[in-house]
Amino acid sequence: MNEAAKPLSRPALAQPSRRAFLLRLGLLFNAIAAILFAIPVLGYLMSPMRRYAWVSWISLGKIEDFPEHQTRLAIYRNPYTKPWDGKTANIPCWVRRESGAIFRVFAINCTHLGCPVRWFQESGLFMCPCHGGVFYSDGARASGPPPRGLYQYSHKLENGQLWIKAGQLPTLGEPLA
């Protein structure tokens, strides 16, 4: 394409004629138009990256629902949803009530590659079905390929309820706060 265009454009650009001016003006207008077009398109596609306020406090239910020294599965509705998210916005998490007001709330996602870890109360371990990651009841890494312990949600007890700061999929790049 370049080879074909050169013999035409070179003489045209060499002499300051109306044709050369129009060609340059045309290129300039198109460059500006392309930028004007590209900015909103990129902004549209990249918008999930820009917004940071994805997390907010949500309740997991009454404190009494979580017996002491036990780990229970809790499910919450993600605070940011679209009407067509369906069940994908129902996010599970593991709630460990050590004793009294001492809680730990773990993300369901294994820290290795995000698969859902399962709790086994008899051996006090979380096991991952994908690559064999295992975690202790306090979330610490026990064995397998995970590079760290389970992700933990920030939590607080208020009005007799357990609240967690949730809203985004935890990854190594952005673990939960």
């Binding site: 995000g114 096991m127 190594l172």
Partner: protein
Amino acid sequence: MLVEAGAWLDHRLGVGASIREAARHPVPRSSASWWYVFGSCTFAVMVLQFITGMCLATVYAPTADRAWQSLLYLNYNQPLGWFIRALHGWGSNFMIALVCIHLAQVFLFGAYKYPRELTWTAGVVLLLCTLGMAFTGQVLRFDQDAYWGLGIAAAIAGRTPLIGGRVVKIILGGPIIAGDTLSRFFTLHVFVIPAVLIAFVVLHLFLVLKLGINEWPMPGRIVRRETYLAEYHKMVTEDGEPFFPYAAQKDLVAIGLVIAALVVTAAIMGPIGPNGEPDPAIIQTVPRPDFFFLWLFSAFALLPPWTETFLMLTGPVVAIALLFAIPFISGTGEKSFRRRPMSVVLLVMTFMTIGILIYLGTYSPWSPHMEAWSGTPTPVDYVRGRTPLELQGAILIQAKQCRNCHSLGGRGGMRGPALDDTATRLTPNQIVRQILEGGGNMPAYGKNLSPAEVNALVAFLETMHPGDEPPARSSINPAVAPSY
């Protein structure tokens, strides 16, 4: 009548001559071979994929709350929906297989060498597009595997230094795997990648026509930049045949066979999935990717953890860069695989590695068997005539989920060593230490076992030895059982 209509059209379009020229362009007599049909077959299956894909799009609901139901509707309610889904799913498998065979043939026959470097490069793009279609297609089959497969993709992306979290959000289209994620992958699968695919297929075919089909590689016939074009021209003018029908007839036969095989396979095997509903709250799931990414899944389990992040992020880039670079690394010289032993070794090793990793992935020995502790019985021989303490240990092996990682009588997890001959490998004290402190990839059970339970476990494991092989004993403290 038809001839008249054709003439009328050609008078306006004026493309008849160039089509005839393209169809009758000379190819080397040796290239009109059965080895040269795989590119055409891949193309044919791709066209079928477009047709079945358009059919599916008329029913499929590309939203997170309805996609799974619409797949079930396609399978069970829509007339012939099951068959179109089967054709599309198995067509994808066929296309990947054919692309790989085509790539292997081109590589072995040195067809990527001067002057066909760009043809190879465009082919690599087509390979990547095919794999991209396969992955995004697996996501559109929106089930549990698709959901957690996205989770794995996000976890890998999240390992990118500095911008990991942002990359994840761009891939997912939001903070979690949900409606926007499916819409993004729908866009990729239906608009973006097919557009790239068509553009590069056109380029690929244009280059094949322009540069001519690769001649059959003869050992000793060396490719030189200075002389190759003249040699090739001489070959096709003196000993060439028109592409149509001389080479095209074999292509046509092969395409017919492949399509027939695809239709029969689809009819017998039926549609692929979907499996469980993509509800993240259902955690009783064992996510696995389809076979074309199963080898990566296996590699992620087997890589040393400290190399993992580095290899996950750089490995694909390096592998793809190497694929692109092949014609520029060895663009001239011998074409015949008989004179390129290292190329043959490289190809065989690559396919063997991928094949073995896929095989390992099918039974994932590194994963705990989540139901083994409750669902797999203890072999009768292992409990017959045992003392109450030993039986208590046998129960604990089940109740404490030891079976999830350790097998008895060949059944149970394979993550840790089989327990059938533990007593011959570890002394009682070593067993206690191993259970309480873990190590060698075993979690420590110190906090979750009482001394009495450990005693029972050791008593049972001490019976785990073949009749003709006594249990291991410590030379320091030979006869004393562990005590607390």
